[in-house]
Each structure stands twice: as C-alpha cells, then as structure tokens.
Amino acid sequence: MEQRPIVAELKGITKRFPGIVANDNISLQLRKGEIHALLGENGAGKSTLMNILFGLYQPDEGHIEINGSPVVIDGAGKAIELRIGMVHQHFKLVKPFTVAENIILGNEPTKGATIDIKSANERVKQISEQYGLKVDPRVKIEDITVGMQQRVEILKTLYRGADILIFDEPTAVLTVQEIEELIVILRNLAREGKSIILITHKLKEIMEIADTCTVIRRGKVIGSVSVKESNERQLAEMMVGRSVSFQVDKQKSKPGKPVLEVKDLVVPGEHGKPVVDHVTFDIRAGEVFGIAGVDGNGQTQLIEAITGMRKASGGSVKVLGKELLGTSVRTVTEAGVSHIPEDRHKHGLVLDFSVSENMVLNNYYKEPFTHKGLLNYKAMDENAKKLAEQFDVRMSGIHTEARSLSGGNQQKAIIARELTRDPELIIAVQPTRGLDVGAIEFVHKQLIEARNAGKAVLLVSFELEELYGLSDRLAVIYEGRFMGQMEADEKNEEQIGLMMAGNAMGAAAGHTG
C-alpha cells in the first residue's frame, strides 16, 4: 500500500457515558485521499467517535492530531476551522430556502449590507461542477429529492473548505439509484484529495468503495484492514464476533389455509388517481409473500389500508375470513395482525415513553398489563425484560426512554413486540432498514421461524435480495397496481426489474432479449 500522509489521527480515545463505555481506547489513522470505512454494529460506538472528531463530544481520555499537530476540538466551529466537515444522517437544512441559501447559511458572502446571492450561486455552482455533484443552486430544498438534499449537505462542507469529510450512514436514506450516484461522488472527492470517513454497517458498500476499514465492536477497535485484502465474510465476522450466514436457511413452504385475502382493493389518492388500484392477492398460513417495487409506488398506502390506518374506497380485506375493511386499527390488531411499520419514529414507538411502556404499545389494555382498568407496571417490566433478552435489544435499562436507543435497537424493540404477540399475520415493512448484518440475520431468522410455525408473512422491502431470500411468492407493485405475481426465484430477476419499471407481466416477456 502506498503511504500517503496522515491527515488525522485519533489516539487512545475513550468516552464514557453513564453505565456504558462508548469508546474504549480507540485509535485510528486517516490518510489523505483515502476512503476509510468505520464499520460496526448498531450501538458499537461509531457515531460517538465521529461526534468526538467533529467536536460535539469531548473525549474522557486520549487526543486528536490533525496534520501531525495535537488539537482540542471543542465544538463544530473549531472542527470547521480545522477543515473537518460532517454529513449527518438526518439533514440539517432549511426547507423553504434555496440550495445556495442553505449552503452559505452562517457564512454568507455580503455586498454592502445585503447578501451577495449572485456570487454565492456562482461559487456553489463551481464547487458542484468540480466534484460532479450536479446541484442547481437556485432550487428550494423542499422541491428536491433526498439524494439531492444529501448532496447539498456535501456541498455545504466543501463550501466551508473541508478536507476531511465524515459521512454518517449516508446510504441509509437513499434509493438504489441514488446510492450508485453517491458512490461516484465519493470517488470523485477522494480523487480530488479529500479524506473521507464513512460510517456504515453495509458490507457491500465498503467492499465497493473503501480503501481501509476499521472495525469497532462494543466500543473497541477490533482491527484495521485493507479492504482489498479482505472480504465481506471476514469483515462481518470481525464486526459481529462470530461467523454470519448471509443465506437464509429455509425449506420449501407448506402453505395452509388462506390467512389474508385482499380483493380489488382501491385507495384514493390526493389528486383523484388511486394510489392503490384494484390490488388482489392472498397469503396462506406458512407462507411469506413479498412485495417488490420502487419506493413510492403505493406500498405505504396498501399497508395502511390493510391495517386499518387509511380509508379504502373499495374492495375487501379479509383475515381468516373476517372482513376488516372499514373497521378500526384495533379490530385489525385483534384479528391477529402484527405490523412492523415502515417509519419507526413516526408510528413504531412513542419516543418519550420508556422501553417498557413501548413494548406493550398495542396490547397495553390486555391482561396482565391492565388489570381492572389499572396499569400493571410490574407485568410490563417483566415483559420488556423478557423481550429485550430474547431479541438482544441493547440499552442501559428497560426504563430508559426509547429515544435514547440506537436506531437498530429501536427497530429490534419493535420487532420483538410485534413478533411475540402470537399473530396470525405479520406485516413487515422494511423490517431490516438500518440494521447491521448480525441483526439482519437475526430478524430474517425470526421471520422465517414465524412462517415455519404457520404464520402468514407480508413483506414489503426495497431490497431485492431480502425479498428473494425470504419470500415464497412475490408481487411487483408499480403506480399502485400489481404488475404480476410469481414464485420468488432469482431466475425471475430480470423480469422483476422490468416490472418494477412499469412493464406488466406478459409484456415483460416480450421485452427481454
């Protein structure tokens, strides 16, 4: 390996929080023009470490050197001064402002007493072109896609002269297409001499773009490896601490009685055009039914209509023969439906509630959690302890607020709650979003186990691999309509790709070739 100069070095960083050592004597070297991946499970301490580098936390022990000289980074301002920039997972943008206005915010070029927006636009455009970001400085943030917004965040750091860029799980919010574009951008940045730290738990991306990978497990560095000399399996093992299987073991399904029957379901959209358009399918006991499709093609509305959260204008939804359309969410739940929702912060959890209270979010009113109208906290706590142990939800205690859990552990908490309610039908929307490989493996195993135990599973995912791995049958949704249903088999991959782009099943066959 060529020896490029070291631009940043963390030496023996230790950071303690009450009850937990987030970073334990961590050392890390970042070289110029390098893409350095920081790999670790949810809650391994990656974000804490980067927040220390960006000056948001102070280390309890250890120090940081930038370009060979020790520095104290006591705030984001100081970090920017040292040419460190961070692209957060949740963007910090002012939505009604334009791209250029957001970028110059806090560092506005002025002409007399007014902001020189013209030269700002020029400057933004110039940087944008230099790194191939293709961002129009004049459009408003609220009018552009998430992927574009992320580029604005990148531009913001570049505008402030950052040479070291920290990316906190940048692909978590992106579509497949956008991820590919981001990868090109990251390569451009590295080529221009920027040093990049990439926080992630997606092995594929690391293999694809990173030069070096430092693996952290439970706050400690397990090792730094050159990506070229490593492979996915090795990295996964380093991260999780045991060997991980990427394949889901599953026998052929033995479908039983129909559990969910959806017929001609129509959900009206805002502009008259239905967002779910005459969708018909059924799922039998012991079967995983996957719905593939690009995000925003009616998946959300379909699931909400089935679970009673959204009004449908026609059709029928039956669970075990009982008509549920037009009833309430509670009736659907009572009929034996579990729902792992797409948006865990909006729907899945009450973030200000304790983990214990969240674990009973949809059966709090039942015995033993409620006894004669009164809450039984003891039963709730026991339940939470049991589920946390069973599903390895890591936290400082069951009475901590759900807000303080890491994203992956929040998701595990939801999955624990939904899978242990003894449902007939499990609706899982993006169940592994934001999880690391160890947790993904676990969730997949749980879903397959539920299926083997005779539950029906409805899986919505944007990751084809997950759909192939778990589903027995697949449907592709496009603009609210099912383009076709088939056996879940890699052989159908090309056809599925075409259907996701809007070609119906019969027509797709004609297009191949």
Binding site: V329, T333, K346, G373, L375
Partner: protein
C-alpha cells in the same frame, strides 16, 4: 440522612431552589435601583405571608385556584394539547356554581357537592367543546379556547347582570349558606381568613391527576396520544376520543377551581371588568411545576405566596406595584428557564468534576 442528602443534590430539587434565589436577587437589584431597601421589602413580604394566622390563611386562599388552573393546563399539555382556555373554564365553573348555589334549596350535604359538581361539569363541557372541535374538525385548540374564553366572560357577565342580579348591586345574589364551602371552625381560628374545602380538594386533584395519567389504562392512552399521536393511532388507540377526554378532564379541574372561588371565598359573583386571569396564571404555574402534578402544587404556592406577600411590600414600604410585578416576574423567569440556572452553576460543576478527577 444519606437519602436526604441525595434529594438535595438531585438536580430536579436544587435547580428550582436556586432559580428562586436568583430571581429574588434580580428582584432585589431592581428594588435597590428603584431606591427601596430590598431586605426590608422581602422582610415585609415574609411578614405579610407568615405574620398572622389571618394572612397565612389568606395566602393559602390565593394559592388554591392556582393549583386548579395549573393542573388544568398541565393535564391537557400531558395529552399534547395546549389549553389556553382554563380561564374560560374557570369562569364557567364560577357561573354554574353560583347559579346552583342561589337557585336550589337543599340540605348542605347535597347542595354543596351539587354546586361544586356543577362547576366542574361546566368547565368540562366548555373545554370539551374545544376538544370536540379539534377532534372532529381539526380546529386548533389554542384558537378555539381563546375564543371560548371571551364567550365565557361575556356569558358570565350576562348571567350575573340579568339573571342572578342582586338588586342595586353590581354582583349576583349571595349563594345560600347550605352551599358554602368555607371551613368555619378553621376560619374562626384564623381570624376569619377565608379558608375553604377547595384547598383540600385541590390537593386531592393533584393526586387524581397523577393517578389518572400514570396508573390507569386511560392515562396510558392519553399520554401516548400526547407524545406521539401517529404512534397512538398505529397502536389502535382512539386518538380523537383521547383529545376530547383529555380536554374535559382538564376543564373539570379549572371548573372546580371556579366553583370553589365562589362557594368558598366570595359567596357571590361580581360583574367582571376584565377576565380575572386565574387561567393565565395557571399556564405560568404549570410551567413552574414542570407539568408535574406535585410540582404544580409547589408552583402554585410560590406564585400565590409571591403575589399575596407582595401586597406587604406595597403596604409597608410603598414599593410600587410595577416593581413588585418585576420581582415576581424575574423569579418565574428563572424557574421557567432551567437552562440559565444550569449555566450559572456550570463553574461549580466544573470544579467538582476536576476534584473527582484528581481523586481518581
């Protein structure tokens, strides 16, 4: 002793205490700049509150309605609603209790409870109206409760002036003695201070507040709806029903406060020249108490004692009312802005941390 030490070193305990002290210091500076001796003034305030049994009883009287309205605002807040209408609900409670107090002739053990309940119910209905508007039509409760305050105010004046008027006076007829909530024996002991059962009920209500929210299934639903209505909806909770229920319970607290202000203190309802302000003070009290039912009791005591005691500063030293309001305002300001207090404390903490480090 260990435990006691723990309580006093807990941030939630000493921050409010320090906040009060800081507020008093700022108040002292203001008085000193205005040419008054702050020590004399604070002494006069303490004497006014604790000097005689009469004054002490009256100070408690001042505190009581604030507990009710503070609980009212906080309960709605816990369910994610901003009830600006405690004022109107309080007025409706006063009006209903007055009407029942004047117009029904029953033995006291029926009459008094009936009048109190009428007040609570009137408050509940009044706020329930705003809750229903929000649940069914999505109308923002801040706007609807402000409007309902005005309607309640004019309606109450109409009732007093036209329906319940005492001839030749600017107030209603007296409520019958059978509807009096005064504690006569205690009042006699305290030199006729107007102490009444409302104080006991107010304390009871703070317990009820806690019990409903944290002990019952209903409370779980209200809190879930308040913290995250989307998640509550996902969980199958009837969010709209929760809005109406939370508003009604909130309004009931305010209505009870209004009822006791009439039945325990004034015995008749005067024509109001402006909205009396109990509900608005309730917002400050609920803020002081951190929306915690027991915190609110302390918040109400602080607020009530300051306003009552300040009369002493006015009377003894002729400190103008405006400066007194500044003193009260600065105390509330510091209590409400914990952040500032912690900022003041920062140097001390730093020292302590370093000491710890040195020891380790």
């Amino acid at each position: 002793m260990q435990r006691l030490n723990q309580i006093f070193t807990k941030q939630s305990t000493y921050v409010p205490i320090l906040a009060i002290i800081l507020g008093l210091i700022v108040g002292a500076i203001v008085m000193w700049m205005g040419g008054f001796n702050p020590f004399e003034a604070y002494k006069a305030m303490l004497v006014k509150i604790f000097g005689t049994t009469y004054d002490f009883g009256e100070a408690i009287r001042q505190v009581t309605p604030l507990i009710f309205t503070g609980l009212s605002v906080a309960f709605a807040f816990r369910a994610g609603l901003f009830n600006i209408g405690a004022e109107g609900q309080f007025i409706m409670g006063m009006t209903a209790a007055t009407w029942v107090g004047i117009n029904t002739d029953l033995p006291w053990f029926i009459h008094l409870p009936l009048a109190v309940l009428a007040g609570g119910l009137a408050g509940a209905i009044w706020s329930g109206l705003a809750g229903w508007l929000k649940a069914s039509r999505g109308i923002n409760e801040v706007i609807s409760t402000i409007m309902l305050n005005w309607i309640a105010y004019y309606f109450a004046n109409f009732m007093v002036r036209v329906v319940m008027i005492e001839k030749g006076q600017n107030r209603s007829q007296d409520v019958l003695p059978s509807a009096s909530a005064s504690i006569d024996w205690l009042s006699a002991l305290m030199d006729n201070a107007r102490v009444h059962w409302g104080t006991v009920i107010a304390l009871l209500c703070s317990g009820i507040f806690y019990y409903i929210l944290w002990k019952t299934r209903q409370g779980y639903e209200l809190r879930a709806s308040g913290h995250n209505a989307d998640a509550a909806f996902y969980a199958g909770i009837n969010v709209k029903g929760s809005i109406v229920k939370a508003m009604m319970i909130s309004g009931a607290f305010a209505g009870l406060g209004g009822a006791f202000e009439i039945l325990g203190v004034f015995k008749s309802m005067a024509v109001m020249n402006a909205q009396p302000g109990y509900g608005f003070d309730g917002i400050a009290v609920s803020l002081l108490g951190g929306n915690n039912p027991f915190g609110i009791v302390f918040g109400a005591i602080l607020f009530g004692f300051l306003s009552y005691g300040s009369q002493g500063m006015n009377f003894e030293l002729e400190v103008p009312n405006e400066i007194i309001r500044i003193v009260i305002g600065s105390v509330i300001f510091f209590v409400a802005s914990h952040g500032i207090v912690k900022w003041f404390l920062k140097p001390f903490f730093k020292k302590r941390r370093e000491e710890k480090k040195g020891a380790a």
